[in-house]
Symmetry: C2
Subunit: 196 residues, 2 copies
């Protein structure tokens, strides 16, 4: 029986960024396949009544420290994005569209966008900046833009987000090992245990 | 130089209960003194705009699983309280009053109340039930009740809660090692690292 787990992510979440950096290691250490599940975190917040921890000022201040501590533990770069919060609708449509049409391009896309937002502090609310980031990562910005306007892609992202809500997702990142759900980049060790 | 850390707790928080069970071990492993800081979580929520994670149904369902997984990892009993949420004003006044007047009675009080709520599922919103729990743990319920009506105790709990907010506290449990703040029973390992 082949092992696998689901990883629900949105590029606007710094915690999902940290988790993203750890997925190759987790897959290697457990021998499990990662099923990447792009979804729209804003849609999940709306459907569940949850909200970004960043909306509570005291929690937001603490979270920046906490994310930096975890980044140091993982040995990955992290810097809070000065343009936060980021509207990720176009990026998540692009992620899902790539997964549908050119699946081998999903990981390079995620790497480039996560790095732009959570390492380099780029303003991904600005389409010109997005185009520069994509071009530098070897993508054709016009082709990616076309994906974000594709009715089938739009519909699939809505459906993926709705399906995530129905499965119990309320935040990002979220993992599933079978029916067991784990929320948070700080639960990777529990995901690992569940896979072993 | 003697090491110490602050532990902010409210008996109504299941995460603070789990942390409470780990404080003796943390103190032993680090050689640090625990400064127990009773405060009113409801007051902190009001002041910071934060709210209980239990207020989001999907998050609440997940949290019960997550708390049970942590309890299993710690090797301590845990059961969600059917009478949650609990108004903890009287219990937190009693905790602070005991700390002021009979400091050696704080830990037995916390042990008894945490166990009643987060292991035995007792209804601590019912004064008669509270009296039974306290009596069984060797307390004089009338004396404890008197503490909860003591104007100095009332004032001190307000001041302690306000001071916690000013220090950056937005939830429970919260730890401080010097100026470094850590939120959550799942951050005990970071507290330990900061103490070492």
């Amino acid at each position: 029986m082949s092992k696998a787990f689901d990883f629900y992510f949105d590029v606007g979440s710094p915690a999902a960024y940290l988790a993203w950096t750890q997925m190759p290691r987790l897959a290697r250490e457990t021998g499990a396949t990662v099923h990447y599940r792009p979804f729209l975190l804003g849609g999940v917040f709306q459907a569940t009544g949850n909200r970004s921890p960043m909306e509570v000022p005291a929690k937001s201040r603490w979270m920046r420290d906490d994310l930096a501590r975890h980044a140091a533990r993982y040995g990955v770069p992290y810097r809070h994005n000065p343009h936060f919060p980021i509207n990720t609708l176009a990026q998540m449509r692009a992620a899902l569209g790539l997964q549908m049409r050119q699946p081998e391009r999903l990981l390079p896309f995620g790497d480039a966008v996560y790095r732009a937002i959570w390492v380099d502090g780029r303003n991904m609310n600005d389409p010109a900046e997005v185009a520069r980031v994509l071009q530098k990562a070897g993508f054709d910005p016009q082709a990616v833009l076309a994906l974000t306007q594709d009715p089938e892609v739009k519909e699939r992202l809505k459906a993926a987000t709705q399906a995530a809500v129905e499965r119990g997702v309320f935040g990002a990142p979220t993992f599933f090992v079978g029916d067991q759900m784990f929320w948070g980049q700080d639960r990777i060790d529990f995901v690992k245990e569940a896979l072993q």
